[in-house]
Symmetry: C2
Subunit: 204 residues, 2 copies
DNA sequence: CGCTTTGGCTAATTCAAATTAGCCAAATTA
DNA sequence: TAATTTGGCTAATTTGAATTAGCCAAAGCG
């Protein structure tokens, strides 16, 4: 990785943990292993570093389309995966996705930045909501809808069901972002949640 | 309200929306209607204003004990309220609590501050988790436990049930904090959620 | 009523962080 | 290989927000 990218990378980590205003240019430089003025050979100023991060975040987001899907595959293609799946498999898929979102290098730092900056910037609010509410919600709603249609799941208010399936994942994700040491506990709860959800709604 | 409190109040609003580091002392002063140096007649420095806010937040939190309870009443006392309650009443209580947490002047600004500062400060992480995860979780777990014991709710994994009941409330609360214009939508979903939850788990 | 405290103001001052200037060696390239 | 570009450095400089100094009028009070 060249210096320009290392700067982005270190800045991303720092911004994610302390917020833009609390990070000094000199801190970023130190992490990269250069002196502050050298940064200016790569970026016009501090804001430009931040903007580059946002742009990167944006382009990754767009390229993966929906958020809570598998490798950018759309719900229709995932259908087979979920149609007649065992409880254990469902737990596997759920925890896999959870772990990916929790630990993926970019995903988790972006999420923290969005969390920190969400109130100060309308674009960030929108992006946050889209990425962590609307997209996963609509994706999972489609999925649950198909499972209901196919008879694998009981009928029920689909929005409520989607909310009940997704919200715990979201809650536990934010818990782990905040207190990584609670990951084990979160994972246990996640599994319980998925199993319970499956049991409640399984069978017509 | 005297100047000293007005400072606290305006600072709270500003910190909640932009984060500590992005708020200038001069901004706070302007909102209060005085000049920046005059602030120093009331507080030693900027940090002291922030600390005063945190102290206030802390003392309010402690005085209300558990978070997601009614007026600081403990679960045992709330028991009667929930024991044999209709679906409509449950929706009323749920939305009432939600609206309170969403709109209460202090509660909602404190929550935003915690959200913004949670990653940079271990105390805030802990406080956030306690206030928006552990406390409401354990409170509601007790309540659900009693409802199960009394036969009003079906058996099921109690942790999973608690998570499924509480998480949507949390998710919708954070959505509204971020995008207040979506309150109507959130409220609709909240009601659907409570009804669906009641139906699924009602009757032994 | 005179004295002191309070809380406002304007005009500095301080201080730290961002940025610029300008030098230089190594890498690239024509 | 000579010329240029790249990317590092140290030593300023700039900038702007926080804070201090010091003045003053009005309110409180002995």
């Amino acid at each position: 990785m060249d210096t320009k990218h290392r700067i982005l990378d270190e800045a991303l980590t720092l911004f994610a943990n302390k917020g833009y205003a609390n990070v000094y240019v000199s801190e970023i430089a130190e992490k990269v292993g250069i002196k502050a003025p050298s940064l200016y050979k790569h970026y016009k100023n501090k804001k430009a570093i931040f903007d580059a991060i946002i742009e990167e975040m944006d382009s990754r987001y767009k390229s993966q389309a929906g958020s809570f899907n598998l490798n950018g595959i759309n719900p229709m293609n995932d259908f087979d995966l979920y149609t007649d799946i065992s409880e254990d498999e469902l737990v596997q898929i759920g925890t896999g996705l959870f772990m990916y979102f929790l630990h993926d290098d970019y995903t988790n730092r972006f999420r923290k930045i969005l969390t920190i900056e969400q109130f100060s910037n309308g674009d960030f609010s929108k992006l946050f909501s889209s990425q962590y509410f609307d997209e996963p919600f609509s994706y999972q709603k489609i999925l649950l809808g198909m499972l209901i249609t196919s008879g694998s799941l009981k009928e029920g208010n689909i929005d409520a069901m989607t909310l009940q399936f997704y919200s715990p994942i979201y809650l536990l994700l934010t818990l782990c972002d905040r207190e990584p040491s609670r990951e084990g506990e979160a994972l246990k709860l996640l599994k319980l949640h998925i199993r319970q959800f499956a049991r409640i709604y399984k069978g017509k």
